[in-house]
Symmetry: C2
Subunit: 228 residues, 2 copies
Amino acid sequence: MSAPIRYYYDLMSQPSRALFIIFRLSNMPFEDCVVALRNGEHLTEDFKKEINRFQRVPCIHDNGYKLAESVAILRYLSAKGKIPEHLYPKYFVDQSRVDEFLEWQHMSLRLTCAMYFRTVWLEPLLTGRTPSEAKIETFRMQMERNLDVVEEVWLEGKDFLTGSSLTVADIFAACEIEQTRMADYDVRIKYPKIRAWLKRVRQSCNPYYDVAHEFVYKISGTGPQAKL
Amino acid sequence: MSAPIRYYYDLMSQPSRALFIIFRLSNMPFEDCVVALRNGEHLTEDFKKEINRFQRVPCIHDNGYKLAESVAILRYLSAKGKIPEHLYPKYFVDQSRVDEFLEWQHMSLRLTCAMYFRTVWLEPLLTGRTPSEAKIETFRMQMERNLDVVEEVWLEGKDFLTGSSLTVADIFAACEIEQTRMADYDVRIKYPKIRAWLKRVRQSCNPYYDVAHEFVYKISGTGPQAKL
């Protein structure tokens, strides 16, 4: 038997949470390698040399093979038979629909939710400066343009983003959207389909969804029940 | 025999050029469906309904199956046996290294090169306003942080981004970097490894590389020879 993969992650990172939930749902054993981003543990020369040349999380080591980028990691482990087919389809047509979401999200949902979170929550924390209302408004609008697409296009006539059941696409998306809670944004107010879908995603992924989001719930001062 | 896929693209779009070059190198026949972004042809309700619900290019129709997102399209066509293995490996470990680049580029190289191009070339053209030096400088620095990673990490000790020969990763990357020529940025000045690598990529992809970049060369006022 080969050693379990080493999984380097921080649950404060959205794609780290997504993979954490996916690995748990897949019953895939892994060696827990928590990296505290808040302490800059990823910024050392040692980390760059030994763990991940891009100095980010998530990443894995599989018997010495180092791989970064959450979607690449997911595909690699799927090819190794570690991810069940219902979460990431093997049939190439079904897989392409999930891939379409995974590729779409980077520069749309992920970028704009992350920028909103950073502007409203992270930067004020790091710099002590409050962003202007106009700046918050700009980032909110950019984010909502993409939430509109999730509500109106991805969730049109479907219970989940790519069909009638949960896939990794839903897990990646939910983890991005949950991040905005910490910036006190409640996506559920304007988006009824997203509200209902998030509830389904959480139910399909629990108990791991709540474990992964424990810190998010704590920071946002709302338990999962308060909003879902 | 089934009909060739319909390929919707505009050579002004970086991922459109990448797929165009990949399809030509793969000897894959396709029906040429040019979409003039400059005329807003992608913004009509018809386009949204009939061609691509996300109103972007590139996208394909394969006997009625509609798929968007360049990387998802590439994988779908690879699974159908349309893309040769040397361009996109079939062995999952080799594939994961190419995937790592394809996933990395979105929010790093692609985002920052595109933002620089947009700020320095596209927005002044559309609005008639010149960006401030400080703004250009900010976007240039963000872009160069990622060009540094290409120079120092991806190209470290290798002729191509993921190994000793050309893959789709190189083609996607080169198309992003070439876009900045139009904003009068010459990547070759500061980055000797990128300079030499771009030359190799162009040589490996010609005559299709030059065909795809004809408009880029024209706008930037430099033939391919002038800089490469």
